[in-house]
Subunit: 347 residues, 2 copies
DNA sequence: CTGTTAGCGCCTTCAG
DNA sequence: CTGAAGGCGCTAACAG
């Protein structure tokens, strides 16, 4: 049997006052006599009393908890975003519940339901690579729970979003490769479920076009980001009659896996340059170190949190809010390292 | 104004039955007429009804939620443990709330209080490197909330624990270095707040002693694991009149940072061998790749979860349980790679 | 300033 | 099989 948890009633009884007064004293309500307040606080301390947040949330229909759903937590990308978001949220007395989906759609739906049933006051999320149906997001909105998307977002849902300049980033990255003299630039693209894939692919294509380099479909492969398959695709590229002299990858794990394969047959960057995306923790450590596009991960989290707080604090006029959903676009930065033999000396 | 959330009362009214019946129908209670059950379920579906977990937990004093507190989430170590624990817990219908402390003691205490006030049904945790006082753990136990510690554990608290064979692992690692012919083996140890530091240090010392190699205190530095300082310590080692020919580090980030410094002056492993601990995600990618001690991270999580479930399901006899707290010790494995020039060919 | 009362949504006796 | 009533711990009116 669970020991009876001490409640305000216990304190009230012992002090011979009402539980309302205890409640008020505990929550710092101004209209409580100094003396009784102190008595209550002392006894609470002595009794090892602790508020039952469950009851509290239940009573005021507010939990002060924010749910964060990420597709996975093994990469530093999402961990960093979470840290950034928490930084902002904690200052406003909001606590966070983190849920991850191991890139599984069902788990994502499940997590949304969990958070809703836990009555969170807001949700920040990025969908899995399997997600095509966004009805669960609509559920969030029907429940009037503020929602902010980041990184992997969708046009199908009207909500504030935080993204980076994927298109420009890819464009600049590829243009940089072109300026290095590369002519046949291959691209390992992500699945079409992700906007990021499409934008980066488009940036790649447009950069080629701008510089009058033909877009060769043999040099573009779109895949589901499961690293094991990279080997196959890279070998395919290398075995082409006219193999690529550069490889632009959807993300760093892909690029790193690709380099492993390439290194057995060719020199990087002399024979082929490799470029990643996101600046994962390990991309500076590889041999050669990986040129990549750095994303402001902490800021993505911070911005998402700020947007969510705005959303929470401006609920009243629902109709107008609908049209005002902002999309914050953050800047990325091309980090030139050894894998492209760029301008930096290989320190 | 928040839209009234549809509750069992709404369903009851609409169907002209009592809320008790609705409640029973919803939770699959056997004694409900097939017909009414279906009616309830249908209407619930139609009304987009969703159980209010808050109210539910509140009513049964059970949340089916487990709290996991980790010191930080940027390294893959804790993320992996979390994934392992969730795997086991989800099967038993428990959900997880993840909290991290950015290695900050106050935040740890805060997280414990948060979880307790959220009425979680159990807590799995590993403390920060700042933690010296464990009163907040005692608070958990006074509340009769099952607790399991892993990795960074303490003797001051009686509870089930999951650890690895730190002592043996360090002993074997150092012995391996000795067998490679290394004579002056330095050790960058962790802070004394962590049992792991002490055990690994002891393993290091005993391995030297066994092989009649004098323990030189100039070759042992204990530090707080903040990577920025590694540079200073490593330089200090290299500048010694008789510098080390091997360096055994408390963890991989330390070893990787150390290699960066060393590489500017010496060859690895020819002049000096470097050995890490934990097999972080990036340690296979460095140049040279890092020899390290692999920890079974997922299993640590799984074991911790299992112990917690046992704890939860065996509450009745509190007194006897006290003495039965098991400590599960998992095996590590020495992963030989290039930084020690070991037996494996540098693939 | 403080006590009283009602209620948050659900489950669980206890009677039919 | 089903309805009525009470309670989980706390807050928020509404009186005094």
């Amino acid at each position: 049997m669970k020991k009876h948890q001490v409640s305000i009633i216990d304190i009230a009884k012992e002090l011979g006052i009402s539980k309302s007064t205890v409640s008020r004293a505990l929550s710092g309500h101004p209209s409580v006599m100094e003396k009784t307040r102190i008595a209550v606080l002392d006894l609470a301390e002595k009794l090892d009393y602790q508020r039952n947040t469950l009851a509290l949330s239940f009573a005021n229909q507010k939990t002060l908890v924010i749910g964060i759903i990420v597709p996975e937590i093994l990469s530093t990308f999402y961990s960093s975003v979470i840290i950034g978001a928490e930084e902002v949220l904690l200052k406003e007395k909001y606590r966070c519940i983190i849920c991850h989906c191991t890139e599984n759609y069902d788990r994502e739906v499940d997590n949304v339901k969990l958070l809703l049933s836990q009555q969170v006051d807001g949700i920040i999320l990025s969908h899995t690579k399997e997600t095509r149906n966004f009805d669960h997001y609509k559920l969030i909105q029907r429940r009037r729970v503020p929602l902010v998307m980041f990184n992997r977002v969708t046009d199908l849902i009207e909500a504030p979003k935080v993204v980076v300049d994927d298109y420009e980033a890819a464009f600049r990255a590829v243009e940089y490769l072109i300026k290095l003299g590369r002519k046949r630039i291959a691209h390992l693209s992500g699945p079409d479920t992700l906007v990021n894939s499409k934008l980066r692919l488009q940036g790649y294509i447009d950069a080629l076009k701008k510089h009058k380099i033909p877009v060769d479909n043999d040099l573009i492969i779109s895949y589901d980001l499961s690293v094991e398959k990279v080997k196959i695709y890279v070998k395919h590229f290398l075995d082409l009659p006219s193999p690529p002299d550069a490889l632009f990858c959807m993300n760093d794990p892909t690029a790193i896996a690709a380099m492993e394969v390439i290194k057995k047959r060719l020199r990087i960057p002399e024979d082929i340059a490799v470029l990643g995306f996101s600046n994962d923790g390990s991309s500076a450590l590889t041999n050669p170190s990986l040129t990549t596009v750095a994303q402001p991960t902490f800021d993505i989290g911070r911005e998402a949190a700020k947007l969510l707080l705005q959303e929470i604090n401006s609920e009243p006029d629902l109709e107008t809010a609908q049209s005002q959903h902002r999309t914050v676009v953050l800047k990325t930065k091309l980090l030139i390292r050894e894998s492209t033999g760029g301008v930096l000396s290989p320190k």
